[in-house]
Amino acid sequence: MARNTVRKEASDVKLRKREEILVFEGGQLRSEVPKAKGNLVVGTQQSVLLGSFGAEFIFYHMPEAGLAVVKPEKIYNWVELELLELEILDIQCLHQAPMHTFFLSYYLFIFSLKLPSFFDFVVVFCMKMKSYIWLQTADGSVQQVEEEVAMFCPMICREIIQAGMGSSKNHAISLPQRVNPAILGLILDYCRFHHVPGHSNKERKTFDEKFIRMDTKRLCELTSAADSLQLKPLVDLTSHALARIIEGKTPEEIRETFHLPDDLTEEEKLEPLGNITDDPRIRLLNRLYARKRRELREREKLKNVDVEDERGDNRSVEDLLSFINGEDGDVLPFADSKGGRNSKNKKKNRRRKEQAKDDSSNNPNENQKKESDTLPSVSPNDEVNDILAASPSKTSYFQDCSAVTFSPKLDFDDADIDDDDLDPAMKEELDRLIAMLDCLHSLNEFNLYLVLSSISCGILTLLKQQLCSIANAIFYMDNRFGPEIM
């Protein structure tokens, strides 16, 4: 007991000696079992003072405790000294500036030396009052944080200084919505490490790297929380980590990592160049095509046999195609989606239509195959190079759209029209007709298609030629009114 007597200036002192805490309280010394060993502060030896009495006193500088002067040989050996932690609960003469405390402690020390028999060691401590700040997260839970750790966050700092909040439980600083208790814990860990100036850059870097190792979900939460607290270094750290995660991934992988919905149309994915207009009709058309492509893909997997049947007669299609000459105003549906290229497309169409039409007319039988060829290129599983590829040539686009519309239209019609009523050849013919029509007109003419299909229900009994002539008439009407409608 006598070993640990302390100057009476300090009212209550806690000394932790390895496993034991000795408390001097109200004139009595008692021991306590420590709760946790986490906060041991190691003092770095500053200087050795040879007292005038021949005794050796060592000044220890404790980062949080200020200064300690210890006379070693009487109480502890050198090893034990390292584990010494000083914690002051209440102190009268306190100030932050170490210089003051040094002199103060020196005088106190000298004074204590006058009465060496009473004091085995002198502990002089000047420490900042360890004050705590109360923080309240969005879900209502309140926690206490050391002030200096919390001050690392500019937002909290501002709240403390300007608004004077946080000093008690009732006046806790309420944190923004995005900070939940788990994330707050992480942030405080970060602050606790970094606010200490004593760490070297290398140490900080290692800490940061270990800190960042968490799943992407938490990383995202951490980023938004750090941003709302305006903790710039943490925001930078987490953003860099996220960028590193995103780097080098294909769109599919990015979607997977961040659980994003796959809600872009195929065209938008393919067209880094295309001017995606805001035209709702175009968007609707795009979505329609995208949906049909998907359906087609599924059906293709199931009905590979049916491909044979659908390689129908091309000849009648070519007849129809010959009707559609000279439609210079009409533009491929996709052309609209590249607003900046409209004029070019129109001119192109005139020249390329012959070739394109030949290709498309020769290609219904290759449609299915082309589907599987072109579709992989539009599937989201693609490499970045395909996405970076400029829009495929106009012919292949035309084929794309014709490929899309040919067979899906078949499916579409299936829904509307009863199979029993249809003559299969007629049905195919009709479908091709409708597909051609749709393919060559913009969405405006969609109504026309609906009309035609409804008419077709009624006139299915007519002969093929009559059907063609009606289609011809419609085409003609379309020719005349098409550009104006558009």
Binding site: I246, E247, K249, L273, G274, T277, G340, R351, V384
Partner: protein, 338 residues
Amino acid sequence: MVALPTPPPPTTIQGGTISTLHPDILQTHILTLLDGPTLAATACASSELHALSTEDKLWQKICTSTWPSINDPIVRSIIPTFPSGHRSFFSDSYPLLHHNHHSSSFPTTNTECFVSAVDIYYKNVPIFSKVETTETLSDWFKSSPFRLDLLEPKEFVQTWIQNQPSEKELSVEQLEENITLSWILIDPKGRRAMNLSSERPVSVQRHWLTGEVVVKFSTIMAGDGGEKEYVECGVMVCCGEKEGGEVEVREVSMVMEDMEGKNLAGKDGLVILQEAMEWGERKKGKGRKEGKGRYEEFVERKKERKERMKKLEKALDMACIATGIAVFVSFWTFILFR
């Protein structure tokens, strides 16, 4: 051009995906750290990311950091006219050009001029950047051989590259390993661009007379057929050594050659370039040696073609000789046995 509708910032917190991040954070902190291909990938990932990733400022930053010559005022005035601004420019010029099949369409726009933006890098640090405009409408251009020169005949460009002091002459290997070039040809009227250089040199040789090192970057394009079946568009960079051991660039030029090694005339070259710009596919390079591989393939084809022509010539020769002899013999038989 119609502006994209921006999605509203996410108001509900769903389980911590990237969509919980406020769009501002995403934009200012994360997307700015990504490079070109990655940004393009994020633009294709979801509609939210798409709207954020297609911001022109991001792409502008990427373009200017990749090609310093973009900062030139001429180029800067052209790029905004592109369909999606810097994004389409980047996606036109960054990947390598593959133009392997000739399509028989007529070019639709008559280009009035080409703007070439050239950057030469040594160890990925730019050493030389220049922008040059070439008009293509005049008859003079059309009839003269297709050649674009960037430096005046006596103009040299100093670089900071030091020749290794142990070598007496400029080291060929050193240059081959480290020098890269990007030659972007911009068509202001058609609003497209393409990169005419294989990223790495396809051949590095020492010129027999002057001792300079000629570094060649070339792209192979499909041409009209016949002897223009494949056309090589080659960029030649001549580097010489100054007294102090520093390397200087003495000539940067582009020529187009057909399979017989003949330089194309301006008109033909123009047609082929226009076509490549329209229809050429831009694909990410599959490796460092891809450009060189294609060039070597081209050289092989040239050789094959030469052999074929030779054989044909030989056959023709034989035929001519045979006909000659036949005529001779028949004439004399006619005379003698009349």
